[in-house]
Symmetry: C2
Subunit: 151 residues, 2 copies
């Protein structure tokens, strides 16, 4: 049986996650797409950058906003290998990202379908469309492998 | 009657907020303190920096982490003029900040005592001590004045 191939942005997000693991960072990757073109790609780097806000999503959002010269990423899609945390969900909302695709759910730190459920708050000013599950097994395997080696 | 003076870090946070208003940014300021010394100060700059994550808290946290060369701001205090949003509350938690002092509550965008209540989630890995109210009138006046002029 041949598996249906992953959409290209998710394949790239997993590749970014893998690069992070190679640097000793938790392997989470994110890719920002506008009109079908990748405009930013990043992986978690809080240790490398001495920056507690340097999650893959925040780094990709900041890079894309720089590239476009605006704080509003209207019409953009964010592809990320793990369910965003409260910080990243807030950043996604502030950036007015249109669609979020995440691979694996994160019951411990996620804030989309777990915990703070940032986009479900009545006060949330911008709610992206959210899709999950594509690449879940690959993303979860990367994280499991990383934490197994750490032990 | 003489008003009890504001603690120095809150006075500085209000000063930073005022500087932001002068640049056309929403006047919110934040100051990071370690062992009684100010190690970073910032104001909201999403427009100026083309960065939707450039809230005062995130900028102060990033600057402090850079200055200390670590992603963990253990033992640090964050003084901010407005109740942090979900993004900033998440960043505060990731940075392991010990204490947060905020001036005015923010029913529309706050995520500490409103909305996502990030620190109250069972999954929240690090909860700072939180104090609010000092400088509330000054902080709220600054914001009201700013939005009045914008209309």
């Amino acid at each position: 049986m041949t598996k249906w191939p992953l959409p290209e942005p998710m394949r790239l997000a997993l590749e970014a996650a893998r690069a992070g693991a190679g640097e000793g960072e938790v392997p989470i990757g994110a890719v920002l797409v506008k009109n079908g073109a990748v405009i930013a790609s990043a992986h978690n780097q809080p240790r490398t950058l001495s920056d507690p806000t340097a999650h893959a999503e925040v780094l990709a959002i900041r890079a894309a906003a720089q590239a476009l010269g605006t704080e509003r990423l209207e019409g953009c899609e964010l592809w990320v290998t793990l369910e965003p945390c409260a910080m990243c969900a807030g950043a996604i909302s502030h950036a007015r990202i249109a669609r979020v695709y995440y691979a694996a759910p994160d019951p411990k730190g996620g804030a989309v379908e777990h915990g703070a459920r940032v986009f479900e708050q009545p006060q949330c000013l911008h709610r992206p469309e959210v899709y999950s599950g594509m690449g879940e097994a690959e993303a979860a395997d990367l994280l499991r492998g990383f934490f197994r080696e750490k032990r």
